[in-house]
């Protein structure tokens, strides 16, 4: 064996070791979800008996577990959040990038300042405001919480719009397009990667978030929960011994679609950020 081959093998073995360490918890999650016992297995890494019965239990609702309902709730919230957030983000990003109006820099600095306040702090006040209007423990309230301030997260999309060649816009303007038409007919069609990225990332917010859902859905009505709040409840001290395996099964079921979307999003993010848009 040449010296070079040995080096390649050692190098890859090291990376493999690293990746295995990283993947251990995920492997444990999947293995435990197929365990035959309902509680946590503390003596061996792999379960003592294998079975898919907890997936079946997970999909049949009982007093604690309403996974199918939670899943549909989260899906519903995610769809609305996705539409509203994407609209707001694209609007702000475009306005901050293309038309160079007065006060634009000031607005951007102000956005940076607003982002410095911990979101948790404003959440408490938002909770009271929503309560005044009877919107706590409702999905509409949660959709508002996720999407209303989405405009503040405009920076990635703005970075993309900045790369759209101005010559294209100028040409369109000479052809008699107004700003709105340039937005719809020139910039939007060339911005597919960043729009897909924005759509997916805002769709993922309700799936990934735990704390806002916990604050807003605080009445303990199980059929209102999102997946995150519901699964968190399963790990209560009194429930963990009956529901730990179901929690793992739920975790696997949620993670599969999310991982796929996440991978797609990464691809578009790289496409949008590193490749730029149009070669001008």
């Amino acid at each position: 064996m040449s010296k070079k081959t040995t080096k390649v093998i050692l190098h890859n073995a090291f990376i493999a070791l690293l990746c295995i360490i990283w993947i251990i918890p995920i492997v444990w999650l999947v293995c435990t979800s197929f365990s035959a016992a309902p509680g946590m297995n503390t003596s061996t890494f792999f379960p003592n008996g294998w079975s898919a019965v907890h997936y079946k239990l997970l999909l049949t609702p009982d007093s604690v577990n309403q996974f199918p309902t939670w899943f549909m709730n989260t899906l519903k919230i995610a769809c609305f959040t996705c539409i509203i957030s994407t609209m707001l983000v694209v609007m702000v990003a475009y306005a901050m990038s293309v038309p160079k109006f007065k006060g634009r820099k000031a607005m951007m600095n102000f956005a940076v300042l607003l982002n410095l306040f911990p979101g948790m702090l404003s959440m408490i006040a938002v909770y009271f405001t929503l309560k005044t209007f009877g919107l706590t423990n409702s999905h509409i309230g949660l959709i508002f919480v996720y999407s209303a301030s989405a405009g503040l997260g405009y920076l990635v999309a703005k970075g993309f719009f900045d790369t759209v060649p101005r010559s294209l816009c100028e040409a369109a303007r000479i052809d008699g397009c107004n700003e709105a038409m340039i937005f719809w007919k020139i910039v939007m069609p060339t911005s597919k990667p960043i729009i897909v990225y924005t759509v997916i990332s805002s769709f993922l917010v309700p799936w990934m978030d735990f704390v806002y859902a916990k604050i807003i859905l605080n009445a303990g009505i199980a059929e209102n929960y999102t997946v995150a709040v519901g699964l968190y409840r399963m790990l209560d001290k009194s429930l963990i011994n009956t529901y730990f395996t179901q929690f793992c099964a739920g975790g696997v079921l949620v993670s599969i679609p999310i991982s796929i979307l996440f991978m797609i999003m990464q691809k578009f993010y790289v496409e949008g950020v590193t490749n730029g848009s149009v070669k001008g």
């Binding site: 080096k7 190098h11 890859n12 990376i15 990746c19 990283w22 918890p25 444990w28 503390t42 003596s43 061996t44 707001l88 609007m91 702000v92 306005a95 038309p99 109006f101 006060g103 820099k105 000031a106 600095n109 306040f117 911990p118 948790m120 702090l121 404003s122 959440m123 408490i124 009271f128 405001t129 005044t132 508002f144 209303a148 301030s149 405009g151 503040l152 900045d162 790369t163 709105a180 937005f183 799936w207 990934m208 735990f210 704390v211 995150a228 699964l231 730990f244 793992c248 975790g251 949620v254 993670s255 999310i258 991982s259 996440f262 991978m263 990464q266 950020v273 590193t274 730029g276 001008g280």
Partner: protein
């Protein structure tokens, strides 16, 4: 140090710019009032006046309706709350038995929180109305100038067309800005105000009133008060929060760069496979992976069983590092801090790896080649070429990451809630735990103890710390502002 000074001078100049803009605005308003005709002057009181003069009847009607709306809002809504803003209400809620209706009834009590919220809302509306009013006078004067110079005066259709062309940014921004004002700006202002009141469990509306207390909460936070331990807890938690942000940011940043360099190396086979394996760990939602980790590291969890089996637990006992029959990964002071940072490395490195991969793709390869030919070692290349390049490109992101970690609620809360119990009585007295960050402490204070006044004061402190660090990074951000480079 230079960075800080630069940051301050930039903030300074933007503050100056802000006031200059305000000055300019009032200057234009003064000019309009001084040189405008009678209709321009009248439009200060009747918003539609200037437009009537220029035959813009629809616009005049709309402005008049808007003015009426503001007046109605003021009389019917704002006036019910704003006059009580100074005291936040004086009438305590009481139940009385009404002989006439034979029922127990509530008196017409004051609700301190409603007074605070709706007064603030009224102030925001009035500020916008005042701006509209002054801007309106300026616009009317501009119309007068246009008319005198014989320029084209817009009719209503022209105006609408403008909002799709020259003023398209206003059309685009109005809805997002409304969302941000209602769901971010007003809540932040509200909580800033709450920090100066005594809103807590003993003063919960509607059954009790709360009122202004000035800086009392801040003096409690900085160690004032006789029985209060908030000062003690605040210093410790701030220290741990800073320490955590520093280590969490640095470890994942350097780790991410190293891992991405490993993967990008020419020796690596099956790069895509390795990268997918790493990225899968962040694609799983954090509440799943972190809650799993917490059971993985539990006192009676699987990792402790393994450690006991291989004799590690016994070894640590013999060394005197632990006194329990298990390793208290997440339950003992010190151990928990280390474990949390370790788990965060697991969470954070794949993220940083993705970012670093993108940046390293653009690494000037000729420099690396030249250095290699000159006989530089891989470490020298890393130190003198890769790192400076990475720092230059991702410097601002490093600052943002620091602030994000400072407010990293998920990792701490999901790993330690109901698991870590403090044994320090002084900490427990202020509902704090050694592993809490300022944000998780703030969350516990509001959710479990309804101590809104202290939570708000802590929130303001968080903002100040984050602002200082961002100011340092501001310098990087502006110099790293590549807007327009690619156009």
């Amino acid at each position: 140090m230079n960075g800080i000074l630069d940051g301050f001078s930039k903030i300074g100049s933007s503050v100056v710019g802000f006031f200059a803009a305000i000055g300019g605005f009032f200057g234009r308003f003064g000019q309009a009032m001084a040189r405008g005709d009678i209709f321009v002057k009248l439009s200060l009181i009747w918003w539609g006046a200037g437009y009537i003069r220029r035959k813009q009847y629809i616009k005049a009607l709309l402005m008049t309706l808007l003015e009426i709306a503001v007046v109605v809002f003021t009389l019917n809504f704002a006036m019910r709350y704003v006059p009580k803003f100074g005291t936040l209400g004086t009438v305590q809620a009481e139940q009385t038995f009404n002989i006439a209706t034979m029922q127990t009834e509530w008196n017409d009590y004051d609700h301190s929180f409603m007074i605070l919220l709706f007064s603030l809302f009224s102030f925001v509306v009035w500020a916008v109305a005042a701006f509209t009013c002054l801007q309106n006078v300026i616009s009317c004067y501009q119309l007068q100038l246009d008319a005198e110079a014989g320029r084209h005066i817009n009719n209503f259709v022209d105006d609408i067309r403008d909002y799709l062309d020259k003023k398209f940014h206003i059309t685009l921004l109005s809805l997002p800005v409304l969302g941000i004002v209602v769901f971010t700006l007003i809540p932040i202002l509200l909580l800033i105000l709450v920090a100066f009141t005594n809103y807590d469990q003993q003063h919960m509306p509607p059954s009790a009133l709360f009122t202004w207390v000035g800086f009392a909460n801040f003096s409690t936070l900085f160690g004032g008060g006789i029985t209060s331990t908030f000062g003690y807890a605040f210093v410790r938690i701030l220290g741990w929060t800073l320490c955590w942000s520093f280590f969490a940011t640095l470890s994942t940043y350097i780790g991410g760069i190293l891992v991405s360099m490993l993967l990008n190396s020419k020796l690596t086979r099956a790069t895509g496979l390795w990268r997918t394996m790493l990225v899968i760990t962040i694609a799983v939602p954090q509440f799943v992976s972190l809650l799993l980790m917490r059971n993985f590291f539990a006192n009676n969890g699987i990792l402790n069983t393994i450690c006991a089996n291989i004799g590690l637990t016994q070894l640590l006992r013999n060394l005197g590092l632990i006194t329990t029959s298990y390793i208290p990964f997440l339950t003992a002071n010190g151990w928990a801090h280390a474990t949390i940072i370790l788990i965060n490395i697991w969470v954070g490195i794949p993220y940083q790896m993705l970012i670093a991969t993108g940046v390293l793709m653009n690494l000037p390869n000729d420099q690396v080649e030249a250095a290699r030919i000159d006989g530089a070692s891989p470490f020298q290349i890393f130190r003198n070429i890769t790192m400076p390049y990475m720092l230059q490109v991702t410097g601002p992101a490093l600052v943002t990451d620091f602030v994000k970690n400072f407010n990293n609620f998920n990792v701490i809360y999901l790993l330690t809630q109901n698991v870590f119990v403090t044994t320090n009585q002084l900490m427990a007295n202020s509902q704090a735990r050694e592993v809490d960050l300022l944000v998780t402490w703030l969350f516990t204070l509001t959710q479990d103890y309804y101590n809104y006044k202290m939570a708000s004061a802590i929130g303001i402190m968080v903002f100040i710390v984050c602002a200082v660090f961002t100011m340092i990074g501001f310098n990087f951000m502006i110099s790293g502002d590549k807007e327009g480079t690619y156009q």
